[in-house]
Amino acid sequence: MADHNPDGDPTPRTLLRRVLDTADPRTPRRPRSARAGAQRALLETASSRRLSGQTKTIAKGRSRGARSIGRSAHVQARGHLEEQTPRTLLKNILLTAPESSILMPESVVKPVPAPQVVQPSRRESSRGSLELQLPELEPSTTLAPGLLAPGRRKQRLRLSMFQQGVDQGLPLSQEPQGNADASSLTSSLNLTFATPLQPQSVQRPGLARRPPARRAVDVGAFLRDLRDTSLAPPNIVLEDTQPFSQPTVGSPNVYHSLPCTPHTGAEDAEQAAGRRTQSSGPGLQNNSPGKPAQFLAGEAEEVDAFALGFLSTSSGVSGEDEVEPLHNGVEEAEKKMKEEGVSVSEMEATGAQGPSRAEEPEGHTQVTEAEGSQGTAEAEGPGASSGDEDASSRAASPELASSTPESLQARRHHQFPEPAPPPGAAVFFAKMPMERKALEMVEKCLDKYFQHLCDDLEVFAAHAGRKTVKPEDLELLMRRQGLVTDQVSLHVLVERHLPLEYRQLLIPCAYSGNSVFPAQ
């Protein structure tokens, strides 16, 4: 290996070339002598070590793998060897050698192909094959035709050097663009990367990333589906209500629903759905879609309930939908609380935002539900971990409530029928099967409880001479519930139970330029 050291800095390309030259063309799975394997491992290790000079982490991994390979000449070593295939080395090269891998002429497309190249390379399915497919880069090439012209000259210069490498037998081409542009030059190179990412993102200049677009989730349909499925086995329930972290459930969705306008995008929708289910899992704190019933009974503030509401809000669903999921979420939260025996006073406070707070008959305001999630967090206290999340989400919901008071207030005057929460939610919280009648009774109690909470919120707002429910009302509610005390303030609950996104919305924080957000 020492013999191969070039005079100057060994470029990854040269290293890779050497490796490929010396590497066994057959798949490593075939039986080989241990020595050959060890030698190959050493070879790869040396080259990898040089490559890893640029990346510490990779070096560590490779060195470990190399050492392990060197030590044992068993088949296991071969398994490790597989990690050192030229494919992996190429991956490493692509990661560390941007100038050669990025074929795009200007910065417009330059950074984009790099990550794309990296990611697709990881997804190569075929081992040992040096063919990477990168179809997505082709559309990118069409992006800046004007820029291609000047870039092509550079590329051609590079290509000439590259061509030398090619002539010398480098089978791999790291310039995907070369395929599109100079097919004649790089005829021997077939480098295409699978397109894991959306082609749309390719068109973004530089590293600009589009804010994750979330499609409004039809909470009503979701809830209906949940209801339709007869008492689901606990597994399903657990899947639905995976606590992601309270704010999660609702929080990422909630958060986005609040400030961003809903975007429609296939991926975004999927992501949103995925997040929703995720959030529902944690059910806790964040406004899990409400169904996860992870919300502690904590007052409507259950942020989780809000999460549902948020999801719907993001889509611009009418307040009714929001209210419904929120209410459900609140109910779920309450169920949880009852089962956990946690006081829901916090939930009251959090009700501000999330639907959980929706003490108002109108429905729960999801916005402040983030606080509600905190409230739920309080409600959690003991019991399921998810419960904890819910509780926190509930507490957070009150905070969240403040964020969307206006939009929700407009809908306050409508009494929204709440979608029935899935029957599995209570079972999930009780951690034991429940009779259907028992579930119905619990549901009724939750209904009344949340209705009561909403009425209280409305009365509090009217008591202060307002028509809008504000976070102050939620805080008062939580105080009466005992979640917010002289020792434990609302902000403490927010911090405890709500995810960071909601916390930023609820707790005023000073930013640069002497600006405080949210404004007091």
């Binding site: 009365v459 509090f460 008591h463 202060a464 001479g465 102050e472 009302d473 008062l476 105080r479 009466r480």
Partner: protein, 138 residues
């Protein structure tokens, strides 16, 4: 200083005990009335429990009333706060609203009487009357 704090604490405690005793006595009297009415006896433990409950609930009420008043950005507890406090129990709420209306009427009548008095006193002389009217209007 510590001694002062201790004595203060002791004083508060003794004061609290006296209050509790007063509440206990009142509860005992009320229970006796109910016992005569329903022909059912009350045990001492029951009366003690009720009085303790009443005392603690009074503390809660006071805190809630203060919260309500502060929520409405006031420093004085109002009848509105009391009504908000009693909203849970329908009959109690009704009773309290009726009482509050009575009191409001009484206040209005008193104000009207005062106005009349001032007006009568003002009619004696025009100048004082005008001044009185102005004052009453104010």
């Amino acid at each position: 200083m510590e001694e002062e704090a201790e004595t203060e604490e002791q004083q508060r405690f003794s004061y609290q005990q006296r209050l509790k005793a007063a509440v206990h006595y009142t509860v005992g009297c009320l229970c006796e009335e109910v016992a005569l009415d329903k022909e059912m006896q009350f045990s001492k433990q029951t009366i003690a429990a009720i009085s303790e409950l009443t005392f603690r609930q009074c503390e809660n009420f006071a805190k809630d009333l203060e919260m309500f008043a502060r929520h409405a950005k006031r420093t004085t507890i109002n009848t509105e706060d009391v009504k908000l406090l009693a909203r849970r129990s329908n009959s109690l709420l009704k009773y309290i609203t009726d009482k509050s209306e009575e009191i409001a009427q009484i206040n209005l009548e008193r104000k009207a009487q005062k106005k009349k008095k001032s007006e009568d006193g003002g009619k004696n002389s025009r100048e004082p009357a005008e001044a009185g009217v102005v004052e009453s209007e104010n």
